[in-house]
Amino acid sequence: MKKELPDRFKSYKHVWVFIEYEHGHIHPVSLELLGEGRKLADKLQVELAGVLIGGDVDELGEAARACFEHGADLVYRVADPVLAHYRNEPYTKALTDLVNTYKPEIVLLGATTLGRDLAGSVATTLLTGLTADCTELAIDDERSLAATRPTFGGSLLCTIHTLNFRPQMATIRPRVMAMPPAVPGRSGRIVDHGLDMTELDIITKVLQFIPDRDTDKAQLAYADVVVAGGLGLKSAENFQLVKDLAGVLGADYGGSRPLVQKGWITADRQIGQTGKTIRPKLYIAAGISGAIQHRVGVEGADLIVAINTDPKAPIFDFAQIGIVANAVELLPALTAAFRQRLSVHRLAS
């Protein structure tokens, strides 16, 4: 299968991360990818660059600082008023122009709605390969990116290469890679690049952006503690027990996919392969069997605690602590015990 890399691609060097910058802040997935990109760049002995595209040159300059502190050696900056809000057309042009000018060997993007919208257009314009939703990245003996991703609903993994084209592109979901520690004061250089486009060239207009209300915004992916329920809870009313425990712990809550289908929880609270990937310090799963599609979304948790009536439930294969008990009875007791413990602490402090 392997052919020699065509000559026109031999000059492609360095690892890039597209930095998702919107509404004044960087999406955490971009910083996570800088951490992962740093490892790849070190292995390849090349530089790590962040790509910042947006409307305001100074704001992007601020954002570039955060990129340097999280491992970037340099930042390519495209600042133009037409880039103030994300739109496919000008962003695709900005990123493809950069790639064609500076020729990176690897380009990583977050598998967010923005990242996926952009990555598909850019890869098609460049006629190169794009591997979706990777969970593991590595460099093989031939300097090629080995991108591993779950398929068939997580029951299998496959490793994909883009052998004869450059750049090698991949998207990675939020929270799959660990956030690298920031190194305050670490700096780098900024390379500015123009966008040869005006508002008149762009057909699509953003009429409005309606931010999600904080109350309905599930911050699951970034929550430190998550409590979740599954079909074992038996009814929508019993799901309240999960919310009660989450309330006392200051945690976020979610559930398995069938609960979304039954309408007990909203889709943005689904955890797993086709829902959110979470990486909390503590994950408590009540009445969840632990199907592979659920497992792949929670394996990054530091500590998984499972409550299930069936000692043979697969969740006990990957939880660290388990209890064979009726969740409908245990959850209220657990909520009460935590409430007492935490309020005692609060009085003491």
Binding site: E22, H23, H85, N88, T113, L114, D117, G120, S121, A123, T124, L127, T128, G129, L130, D133, P150, T151, F152, G153, S155, L156, L157, I160, N164, I203, T204, K205, V206, L207, F209, I210, P211, D212, K217, L249, G250, K281, L282, V305, P311, I315, F316, D317, F318, A319, Q320, I321, G322, I323, L330, P332, A333, L334, A336, A337, F338, L342, H345, R346
Partner: protein
């Protein structure tokens, strides 16, 4: 209004099994379905047709048996079905798939009338990349509208279309001009049952079947394995974790005692959580 809805036939993946020795996917005997995400796209197209008139063409690239999925789409009320099937398409990644599908859509436009909207689902349940929609848009130079939750309006005279799309942290309201490509978000509608007349029509109707040449595809190097920059090097099952959960003793304990034992085990395993929980429960 002429819309083309791309539908993929997929294995009902809940029933996919892996060969225990060879780690290969065993597709034999696995029932196939229309990719569930594509039904939201189909319903959105049918709703538009009800409102604005016109026709809905469904398009599927796949093996000859994918005709079943197209017939199913006809029973829901689609007007016309096109099956794109050729051994040259085998092994396509998303770049090669979007090439074949966009060529067929161009041919559909020439044959049955200009296409105003191409619909795809958000993603599939097997390949699951969400890359084919943007790929088609780029190749046909269509304005790209992904993750659309609502089509707010279409002005037939100015050909302007306004949609709401799910973005990070909110909803973007976008206005653009036809022709467009829309990837429809799940849960945004419910596929209709289809009338008896539709069922009868579907049973009688012919499915237009095109090979590469019929679809006007001459650049075979852009198709199938040869047209696919990505190469699947290996497929394997996730490794099992050897460590099993530590089980909390329950015998002879009431709920409160179990809860205390569980909390003790959690904090014993990860003492730093104590401070985290105190901070979080206080609302910080």
């Amino acid at each position: 209004m002429h819309t083309v809805v791309c539908i993929k036939q997929v294995p009902d993946s809940a029933q996919i099994r892996v060969h225990p020795v060879h780690n290969t996917i065993m597709r034999q005997g696995v029932p196939t379905i229309i990719n569930p995400y594509d039904l939201f796209a189909l319903e959105a197209a049918l709703t538009l047709r009800d409102k604005l008139g016109g026709t809905v063409t469904v398009l599927c690239m796949g093996p000859p048996m994918a005709e079943d999925s197209l017939r199913k789409a006809l029973t829901f009320g689609a007007d016309r079905a096109v099956l794109l099937t050729d051994r040259y398409f085998a092994g396509s990644d998303t770049l090669a798939t979007s090439f074949a599908l966009s060529s067929a859509i161009a041919k559909i436009g020439e044959t049955f009338g200009p296409v105003d909207i191409v619909f795809t689902g958000k993603q599939t349940i097997d390949g699951d990349t969400a890359q084919v929609g943007p790929g088609i848009a780029k190749r046909l130079d269509l304005n790209q509208l992904t993750y659309v939750s609502r089509i707010a309006g279409i002005d037939a005279d100015t050909r302007e279309i306004t949609v709401e799309r799910r973005a990070e942290g909110g909803v973007q309201v976008l206005k653009t001009v036809l022709p467009v490509l829309i990837t429809m978000l799940e849960g945004t509608n419910e596929i209709r049952r289809g009338s008896l007349a539709d069922a009868l029509r579907a049973a009688r109707a012919g499915v237009t079947t095109w090979n590469a040449a019929d679809a006007g595809i001459t650049e075979l190097l852009k198709c199938g394995l040869r047209g696919s920059p990505t190469v699947v090097k290996k497929v394997f099952a996730p490794s099992a974790r050897t460590e099993k959960a530590v089980l909390i003793e329950t015998d002879g304990r009431n709920g409160a005692q179990m809860a205390d034992a569980l909390i003790a085990a959690i904090l014993d395993r990860n003492p730093a959580l104590d401070a985290d929980l105190r901070r979080l429960s206080a609302g910080f």
